[in-house]
């Protein structure tokens, strides 16, 4: 734990770990407050904000899956299974709707299943993001798709969604992305290195639930307080590494803690990257085209190919920025996009003689001993 200021940030961010409780608090005193959920890895939350609603990340968790077994087979990833379990238990009933991105076959199909089974409870809508990101046609297509989704949201919420409100939402989301980027830069300092991977993930994940008007000042104030960190005399310990993964969901905090307890120090990661990747989106001009262009210009991930920047190039950038000695591929069990990417990514790392290891996880941490042995052995090879 680096300092008291960071403890305060963490505490505030942890208020979002129960989204239902956070939403209830957020609603207090607001006129006709609405919340729209979105499934990771990327949905343009600017649309939700512009429609006057709170975007809320729909994340899975360590929950015993029982009801969802009637809808989904056992060998589907634990993320889809746990999220559906939450939905069946009414956890998302406070949401007006949920937007899905077409990130993998399981998510595409589960969104259809939700539409068929839960439409009476809330809106279920797919944002049909394009497969290819490297053509102008993709940008034009996505802009038109975003207009369609905006219309759906506007009708559902009974509110107009103007171009100006969308521009304001872009500006607000730009601030979220900018402050998260600054937070990542702080994390690479000796003082920031005292924050664990679980801490960093708590802060970034909170950005998918907390109202941006609350989240941005929280982080900006904290980062302003770190100006004197260089004189803190703190030294970072552990072997510096990068963690890369799809991160529709994260492992349990006990699992994340294995990184530090194994002698590793995560200096960079692309977890939750879907929501961070777009960088700064142009505010002036056609807002739909601008969002589409921001998405198209972002680097590749396991769920989006044909990008101008390939995924291994992103990982290499992350390594260089943090001075990492190795890479851990953190992959949800049964995650097809990640496992299909792994061979290519490891090949690229091995060609450059970069040590790397793949660790898989499920929502429920269960037995973490084998993962601990793998991470410790990896740390030993890097030491």
């Amino acid at each position: 734990m680096p300092n008291e200021a960071f403890s305060r940030v963490l505490q505030a961010c942890k208020t979002t770990t129960n989204p239902g409780a956070y939403i209830a608090k957020w609603r207090a005193g607001r006129q006709d407050p609405r919340a729209i959920g979105f499934f990771p890895t990327y949905v343009p939350t600017e649309l939700i904000i512009a429609a006057g609603a709170l975007p809320v990340g729909v994340w899975g968790g360590s929950i015993a899956v029982s009801h969802a077994n009637a809808y989904i087979q056992q060998f589907t990833c634990s993320i889809v299974r746990s999220v559906t379990e939450y939905a069946l238990k009414g956890t998302f009933d406070g949401l007006e709707g949920v937007l899905f991105p077409p990130i993998c076959d399981s998510v595409k199909l589960i969104s259809s299943s939700w539409k068929l089974n839960f439409s009476e409870r809330f809106l279920v809508e797919m944002v049909n993001l394009p497969e290819r990101l490297d053509s102008e046609a993709s940008v034009n297509y996505l802009a038109s798709e975003l207009r369609r989704v905006a219309e759906v949201l506007s009708q559902r919420l009974g509110r107009p969604l103007s171009d100006d409100s969308l521009r304001s939402a872009i500006a607000l989301c730009n601030r979220v992305r900018a402050v998260q980027e600054r937070f990542y830069r702080w994390r690479q300092t000796a003082a920031g290195a005292q924050a664990t991977l679980a801490d960093v993930c708590t802060v970034i994940k909170a950005g998918t639930v907390m109202d941006a008007e609350e989240y941005v000042p929280l982080l900006e104030e904290f980062l302003a307080s770190t100006a004197g960190d260089a004189q803190s005399g703190l030294r970072a310990s552990g072997v510096p590494i990068v963690v890369t993964g799809l991160a529709c969901q994260l492992p349990h905090a006990n699992f994340l803690a294995l990184f530090e307890s194994s002698g590793l120090r995560v200096v960079n990661d692309d977890l939750f990257f879907g929501m961070r990747a777009c960088g700064q989106i142009a505010v002036d001009g056609d807002p739909y085209l601008n969002i589409a262009r921001g998405f198209a210009d972002s680097p590749a991930m396991a769920t989006r190919y044909h990008s101008r920047k390939l995924r291994h190039e992103l990982v290499l950038d992350e390594m260089q920025a943090g001075g990492a000695k190795g890479v851990v591929f953190l992959i949800p069990k049964f995650c097809e996009p990640e496992w299909f990417d792994l061979r290519y990514l490891r090949h690229e790392m091995e060609q450059r003689k970069i040590p790397n290891i793949a660790i898989d996880f499920e929502e429920d941490p269960g037995m973490i001993g084998p993962a601990q042995t793998r991470l410790e052995a990896f740390a030993e090879t890097l030491a």
Partner: protein
């Protein structure tokens, strides 16, 4: 009493192994005991066994490194993962080793090593016991043969009974149903060894196979399994009579190095003063 020895304890799910090396880094003795439920008891028993065989006293053990799944709970001067320890132990026994396959009671490991014993890549099986010593133990029980007889028995077969389940519970049901259908025990034994060998070689391919290949762990005593893996790899396996203590041996050797490094540091700091 002044002669120093270094101990490595490998606390596995089924067996606890202890190896002792002397100050020159030469293996002097080893012992194996069932792990049981109490790690401390197994540690003491394995250590006592190795000490007795070496004809030394416990006080001569200068440094002890624990490895294996029980390493965190064992009293020791250092703890090192079984991956690193197996690599070091295999290189000691077979210096030209570049690939290691270890099949223990609870897990299977495929490890790539450099000439100095440094690990360059590794994979481990998942949390279930598919294709491990425990799997074979359950299957031997279903076949009503001793675990030690499974290998020689399988060598008598020319018509393996294909086994498709890797889950230990389903595998046992499959074996029982083959027996009920009149399959011969030797054919089922060969089918089991072939199934596990295929899985193991698949793991080896994930780390890349480079000769020489050394096999360690309790399952390396199964001659039928060795034969199946050799056929799939199309190359001979190095298997030492000490194949079960490779991890403990590596731990002892690493313990010696850690102690030497510590002593060297002490000397340096006293010189500086």
């Amino acid at each position: 009493m002044d002669v120093k020895y270094f101990a490595g304890i490998d606390i596995g799910s089924m067996t606890t192994k202890c190896a002792l090396v002397d100050a020159s880094g030469t293996l002097v003795s080893s012992a194996l005991v069932p792990s049981g439920a109490r790690i401390r008891v197994a540690r003491e028993a394995a250590l006592d066994g190795a000490v007795a065989k070496a004809g030394i006293v416990r006080e001569q053990i200068t440094y002890l490194v624990a490895t294996g799944y029980g390493r965190k709970r064992a009293e020791a001067d250092g703890q090192v993962t079984e991956i690193t320890c197996h690599a070091r132990g295999a290189i000691y026994l077979f210096p030209r080793t570049r690939t290691i396959i270890d099949i223990g009671g609870q897990d299977t490991k495929a490890i790539r090593v450099g000439a100095n014993g440094d690990v360059s890549n590794f994979v481990m099986n998942d949390k279930c016991a598919a294709g491990t010593g425990r799997f074979l133990e359950v299957m031997a029980r279903a076949l009503e043969v001793d675990l030690e007889d499974l290998g020689p028995l399988s060598m008598q077969s020319t018509s393996p009974q294909r086994i498709s389940s890797f889950c230990t519970v389903f595998g046992e049901s499959e074996v029982v149903s083959h027996l009920a259908n009149g399959s011969e025990v030797k054919d089922i034994a060969l089918g089991l060894n072939e199934a596990i060998a295929g899985r193991v070689v698949g793991m080896l391919r994930r780390v890349g196979i480079e000769s020489e290949v050394t096999m360690s762990g309790g399952v390396s005593r199964n001659i039928g399994m060795r034969s199946c893996i050799e056929k799939l790899l199309d190359c001979p396996l190095n298997v030492s009579e000490n194949s079960q203590i490779v991890g403990a041996l590596g731990a002892a050797l690493i313990g010696r190095e850690q102690w030497l490094a510590r002593e060297h540091k002490k000397l340096e700091s006293s010189d500086a003063q």
